[in-house]
Subunit: 421 residues, 2 copies
């Protein structure tokens, strides 16, 4: 008998009809002889509606109370799924994050899981119940206050529970049926991958594939929890995320896929004095404002005035804030100018095969050149190449790379409509 | 410095605007130098919306899961009120029933409070915070499952907290501004009472005054918690419910008010054998179906066939179920017939003065007779007379009794629109 943890996203639970469908799948899994633990996100728009209510009573609500409010969403979806399971004749018990032993740090709105002590869940499983655990939430052991885990929180709850319960697999259900070699909405012959290593999935998640949040994959890799990405609308087997890139035999290592990202902005500081500590000052200021930096480029100093240029990218939503704080530093620092550009896009190629196949970078650049796509920034890891280009060139670039590295299948990919939550 | 517990009903919290108003009142109470604990019901229609969702996924949902679902409602309203308080510059902390130490029996959907151990609330009060506690909910100590308290649960939460914290007063806010000598929508010169004893309030609540639930008043009496019934839309002082009827000097004891009730049905069993145990069988069957009986009448046995008639009233919503089960017993028991009548109404006069003023019953019956209102059943307590009449006569009877006992004031009562939740 296996222990299966399943996680369902908000769009899979957006109304009573979908909740009943999810319940059928859960009961089916139980009937196949498995112990089943289910983690649900809040139903469809619940979280947005609660955020809207909060905003109406207080535009800057206290984080502790925000967590108390938002956790009601998963409480609702979980108990409804439990009821739907009961209506199919199976027995279900729902638990809050706190009841399921999800212990977190105290940072409201973006807490980290410290430990999972799922004694009550284990007990209920042993009594033959299907267990439902509210995702996205936990409890801070010191203050005993309710916390939320921030973006991708429900996926992380599922993986953390799977690790603590030593589950055989953690299935992540959404409206996409697996990990593809590229976005099927852009590349018509994109293929679904059967297998992908944790490291490759991490790289894909980091460069814009929205299928899994980075922290969830990191958690799964750290505790070696096999993940299966599946659709709640089909019976496709999905993609198994498992194993280390180190374990892939060289001959089998391939290029995995092309990811793209439209969510970044580019900031360039012109004419910054080329002396030690200047770059550090820039990045410290940005870091103190809790803005994540992605790609970075520093030009060679121009000889005549001993000044240089620094370019970096950050999330587009944080761009205006980053620009504002750098404009302030510009005066003190005697920089020539700070430029902002959010008409950029990032395209990346990921794959374990990059380590063993020489010439990947050359082919990458040639493919883009042949499609008249100009490269503005390059960054690489051992198994990834990313470049920043004009956002209007993004689709062309994705198709060109997918074609150049022969990632396509012979059939057209099925595109599911949906939000990809 | 006094400790004030305030309870706000769902209609006082039905949108962001009303929540901000409630927050203003709470902060005002705090600024006057009081410690403040607030218990909120779920916002307006939240509970109905959740019930509707539950019904869509499972028409007979498991009670444990129903409690998990419904308690989300108070969690939402409480955290929103806390946010609204914060926006006014005061500091608030919300707690679930479980966090506030509301320990209950395990009966889901209709649990009773066993104990309140509000250590965290006390601690937060001592740190200067306004405390919000989710009403209507608690936790079963044995199973650690979330429970709900059933009808009037939030009022009871407030009173139980007030008792455990030894509060100076428990204020119950709704859309009515106090306890009246009669329903002002029926009697135009009904007067608001300044004071009423626990026993009188209990009698009024028992016979249809919807202002406070019976169990909340019982709890307040048992722990001697002064209650103040106030409106969340005015600054009227409301009605203080306090003290025993025993403590009222005979000269000051008066008749308090007239209450009415349209929620009962009358069931009559005709020709039941007049032997020992027959009535017991009827009432045991009804009790086993968890149907509450109110008034009971058994006629004198008719001489010729040694049979009698039994009449009783029960909640109208349970009437069809009671009728069905008695129709089954009719065959076994050889009764002549079982009749059902839901066109009845009950009118009651309540007051400590009844004990010391002879002739109240006579005046009561005369007043109804003069208005051509026929009495079908009578029941009394030491401080109450109730009669069952035609529902179409109810308004007439209320006015006639209010007039006969000179309960009216000189001014017209202000009638607040609202649901009286």
């Amino acid at each position: 008998m296996a222990l299966v943890v399943q996680k369902y996203g908000g769009s899979s639970l957006e109304n009573a009809e979908r909740i009943r469908r999810v319940a059928e799948r859960i009961v089916e899994t139980k009937k196949q002889g498995n112990d089943v633990v289910v983690v649900c996100s809040a139903m469809g728009d619940t979280t947005d509606e609660l955020l809207d209510l909060a905003n109406q009573v207080n535009p800057v609500p206290p984080a502790r109370e925000m967590d108390m409010l938002l956790t009601a969403g998963e409480r609702i979806s979980n108990s409804l799924v439990a009821m739907a399971i009961a209506s199919l004749g199976a027995s279900a018990r729902s638990f809050t994050g706190s009841q399921a032993g999800v212990i977190t740090t105290e940072r409201h709105g973006n807490a980290r899981i410290v430990e999972v002590t799922p004694g009550r869940v284990r007990e209920a499983l042993d009594e033959g119940h299907i267990c439902l655990v509210a995702g996205f939430q936990g409890v801070n052991r010191e203050t005993r206050d309710v916390t939320t885990l921030g973006r991708g929180g429900s996926d992380t709850t599922a993986v953390a529970l799977a690790a603590a319960l030593e589950a055989d697999v953690c299935e992540i259900y959404s409206d996409v049926d697996g990990v593809y070699t590229a976005d099927p909405r852009i590349v018509s012959n994109a293929q679904r991958l059967d297998n992908i290593s944790f490291e490759e999935m991490l790289e894909l998640a980091a460069v814009g594939a929205k299928i899994l949040q980075l922290r969830c994959v990191e958690y799964a890799r750290a505790f070696n929890v096999p993940l299966r990405v599946r659709s709640s609308y089909s019976n496709e087997i999905g993609t198994l995320v498992n194993g280390s890139v180190e374990d892939i035999p060289v001959e089998e290592a391939v290029l995995t896929g092309v990811a793209h990202d439209r969510s970044e902005a580019k900031i360039t500081i012109l004419g910054i004095p080329d002396v030690a500590g200047q770059a550090a000052q820039v990045f410290r200021a940005v870091a103190d404002a809790e803005i994540n930096i992605d790609m970075v480029l520093q030009n060679v100093s121009s000889i005549d005035d001993n000044r240089t240029d620094i370019t970096f990218t950050c999330p587009r939503e944080d761009g205006p804030r980053a620009l504002e704080l750098l404009k302030k530093l510009q005066v003190e620092g005697d920089w020539k100018d700070v430029l902002y550009d959010d008409h950029v896009g990032k395209v990346s190629l990921v794959g374990a095969g990059m380590k063993s196949h020489p010439g990947v970078t050359a082919t990458f650049c040639e493919a883009l050149a042949q499609s008249d796509v100009n490269i503005e920034l390059i960054s690489t890891s051992e198994i990834r190449i990313s470049v920043l280009i004009r956002d209007t060139d993004l689709d062309t670039a994705v198709r060109a790379l997918h074609e150049a590295f022969q990632l396509g299948g012979e059939e057209e990919a099925v595109v599911y409509a949906g939000t990809g939550r």
